[in-house]
Symmetry: D2
Subunit: 348 residues, 4 copies
């Protein structure tokens, strides 16, 4: 609990530190003011207004939750009827690393092929048509919504054209579209990204703006562009144990993140660090496992190299594609300093 | 979002402010240090050690969760089998103000008579015997655990003798006992209390030490005195969307609360304020709705008086016992200042 | 497995035998005909038409399920949203003897006082108003539907006036009304009953016509007077494991029961037997525990008398109101013969 | 409801008729005898004894349920802990045609590659090892049991050697093995089968002997070779709405099926019909979609041929492997007569 906690170079995730200093400052300044509980306070109200403005969605309904798995589980179970499942890439977070939270809520995750972490429009269309055509469909789980993540679990991005095409299919089949934005700041700040918040608000039926991995202590902001999409979402949140008594802490954080474009700032810092690292990796001939343009970089290492690097830099184990190689993740964040990157480059 | 947030005198709850300054300080000091996620960091480890020491339970398994309803729902569903329910006072938090979180998890709350918020040993014994004797018991919900809160939702306390008697009945019937300590600091610091943390650890199969309402930004520490009580509790937590990515924030807070007896300090401040208020209320002839010795004070007001007071002091509406009276709650906390109390006394 | 199975006089329930002979005959006659599965066959279609006619509800949607607990659990979970509970008399079957099936589906049973097994209009109204007025209602389970049974678990009946009043309250508060008709035949055939099938269809949003306890081998017919009340009920049934592959067996039985008023016939036989028994009980000064006019008769016996009678007649243990008395149930059915009654009278 | 129900030649499934005449006879003979409810009667007891004998498992615990999806959902949810999922072939019934019943119970179906409907030992072992080795396993669904069907949904069979190998892997990893025997009679009577009931009892932790598709009106017999495998299974059954009030009807049917090897008889009739059809199909050069030796025959037809055949014989649509072909299922049963087969052969 001394200095040792930061001795090793750590690039394993984007949630290794506390919060962006601007957020902590807000918590300090307001600490002794008294407010009403459960998100009915002025800070939450203010944050909601700023998010609505940023989304170009003045009617949007906004709820603050604590974490990503929680948000996915609640939004999905609130939007599905009992006999419906959620379509997602087989590599989607809900399909892999949420310990079955969607199933605990009673719903099947219906897997679609993962195209570098993304859903392809034609796969989605095929799945929906196949269900509609199946003579046994009433004995099967009905596809009731579509889940995607932006950026994906592999750091890849949907282009605006791709998102529009997916949204069009969803609307044609009357299946809501939901986007998991756990790392949305890193998409919004990515140079090649062309999907803005207003696009998400226009094309999705629900999405969330990630805080935990984008500079907040914790927190995610669920946006329903069309109010009334899920009646009684407040009570649903409470029932899932996800309603924070001191809801203002969520409001304060999002209010800070959406003041003066801090949320984009958070993304930019990470993006610049990631770009420097990617450039060096390319120069040195490292093999990229996925074509990620955002803050997560996946490289395939020979195991000997992996062991050597691991002794100096903490990275995330991702998978073993074969017996002699390992895929690891390097992640940058708002907190990645130039010195951290310098040291990493040296280690590489 | 200006000063208006604190203009009115507010005694409505014990979660109106941020966190105890000592906690914020810890967050600030450690903000940029990098740690592993999900509660596997050094701060969580340190907090666990301090809680074990305070409980006199060196083997205890300790998990940090975010909020009270969440904690109750997860612990209860983790300890029950599908066909079991949880016995609780009809006024217990899980039976009334958790929006059906226990039922969402598939379990019935089996109500016992509320004796000023508490369960009576004889009622518990009668319920367990009645089930055991019922010829139709295999068609009924089996009582699978007992829930109580210390202090209760009415601010009352179990004495050590009462708790020992309840625990003895539970063990006789092999039904685990679980204590909700959302406001435990106010019990521990209460002059008439004789139940310490080691008693809870000795007499309960699980309990939680509340943070949210006792000085933390948020957070509850679940204690299983006997390790292995619930295998895979980590994954259960994740599956319920309750695993904080930056788990250290929970660890840091509880580490602070259990350093130098801050947790008792938090309770004492509230207790002193409550005692001053209670004394004045008694002097002025106010009617107490429940005999609470802790930080929640319930008084019955004529409606005219209620309206007058409400215009000056924010209190919690509790219930209407008849057409002309209202029961309200006044709550103190670690953040209640002497000036606040002075002003309240004047208003009274 | 020999004669011994019928040696003792058995009045313990109305599901002790197989099926009414007319039903078995239909099964025999049609046994080798081939039909489509899952209730899409001609017999189910015919039964649906006959039930619609009997209910005066030509648009009604009708589904055949296997048993009562199953039917209640499925209809209730299909009609409620996750954050809603079902109001029922504290003595209602779903509140007591269904092993927590409603809670397994995620919903709380919200108890209302039992007035000889029935819900009083004023209690219902008070509960709905109390919820609507409660400032904490968004933290509580919302009353989302009302459950009643006709006849009740105590054999008592709602009069038409009572049912109309309850239905009016439900409609005022936009809360659907659901009637459990596990023993509906015995209500319909009861001389004092004034509630017909068309009344149920007019006043309820859903109800079921019981088969299992009214002459069928098994089976219950769910009636939604307004089609489309629950979209995709077929799939919901399948998902709950309640869709019979050979659905025709349900159709055939209900087709038989609704041919030539057999369903009322079944009730009348039981009613006549019950009347004879009740008359004798009254003459002999037995104490009735509940004022039941239908096929279930509840009497309070001194324990000595209970033991004596039990040795000769098999009755259902109901409860022990005090240390020296036992309440038992005597039930008649379509299969109760005049000789059975003669022997019982002699034993009494 | 006239003759039309049987006019067309029907080979679409093995649940098109009522029950084997020997079963109906038993129902008739015993119809008016009175028994206790809920499976506590003499017929159930006798059936249990006969099944234990046939399984060579004198200690086995046996429960009678109504249908296959119900049985799978209940057994699986009863055997898993909340954070566990069930491994199954991607084509397994629980993964495809049970409308998400397992997920409704809170559990993920973890798909394994389908090898003509079967699980390969190496795939199972790889999946279990992969989970055990994954550093993120505590964030993932833990494999908690293995589901297979004998015969499979494609009519294929596990050999004794295959089953022993799967069972050995399960035991090595301490993961229970469960076999769905919806069509077990057709496996047991299949000339190439070498897996008997005692083998299932020795190698599985639970399995069920199908009645619905093997000559009964309905009903499945769950066998837990080791008693106490699932405590309180009776109440679990009740809670899932699966406890038949007149449980004797299940007992009577299984008692008949296990008297004088009727269950094998039922299988043999179907097998002989299937063999005759298969021989003709081979002679005529039809393409088999799967190498099924049991009562389900899958053939791939050109669409023109499909339309022609469909107009004369009712078969089950299975899938469209490409734009011009259709896979159909022909199923035989205990009720398939020699004349039916003659006519089908003529149509082919």
């Amino acid at each position: 609990m001394s200095q040792s906690v930061s001795e090793k170079l750590r690039f394993e995730s984007d949630y290794q530190e506390g919060a962006h200093p601007a957020i902590l400052r807000r918590l300090l300044e307001t600490n002794l003011l008294k407010t009403a509980g459960y998100g009915t306070d002025e800070y939450c109200a203010s944050a909601r207004e700023k998010i609505r403005a940023a989304c170009g969605a003045p009617e949007a309904e906004i709820h603050f939750l604590v974490g990503g798995t929680q948000t996915n589980a609640i939004v999905i179970s609130a939007m599905l009827r009992s006999y419906q499942g959620v379509l997602a890439a087989a590599t989607g977070h809900i399909a892999t690393h949420e310990a079955g939270a969607v199933e605990l809520g009673g719903h099947k995750v219906l897997p679609l092929p993962s195209r570098d972490g993304k859903i392809a429009t034609e796969d989605l269309q095929a799945a929906l048509e196949s269900w509609a055509r199946d003579e046994n469909r009433d004995h099967m789980v009905m596809p009731g919504m579509v889940y995607l993540s932006q950026p994906t679990e592999y750091g890849t991005l949907y282009s605006l054209r791709e998102l529009e095409a997916l949204s069009a299919v969803c609307r044609k089949f009357r299946v809501p579209l939901y986007a998991d934005g756990a790392r949305l700041a890193y998409a919004l700040a990515c140079p090649v990204n062309d999907v803005g918040l207003p696009d998400l608000a226009r094309l999705c039926d629900a999405f969330y703006i990630g805080g935990t991995k984008c500079g907040a202590l914790f927190g995610e902001a669920v946006v329903f562009p069309k109010p009334g999409t899920v009646p009684h979402f407040f009570t649903i949140t409470k029932q899932h144990g996800a309603l924070l008594a001191k809801g203002r802490i969520l409001g304060l954080q999002f209010d800070a993140l959406f003041t003066g474009r801090l949320y984009w700032e958070v993304g930019r810092t990470a993006m610049e660090a990631a770009e420097r690292i990617r450039t060096v990796l390319k120069e040195k001939g490292y093999a990229f496992a996925f074509p990620s343009p955002t803050n997560q970089i996946f490289i395939t290492l020979e195991d000997q190299r992996y062991e050597f690097l691991s002794s100096r830099v903490s990275m995330s184990f991702w998978e073993k594609p074969d017996l002699n190689h390992t895929v690891v993740r390097i992640a940058t964040s708002w907190a990645t300093s130039a010195e951290d990157v310098d040291q990493l480059i040296q280690a590489l």
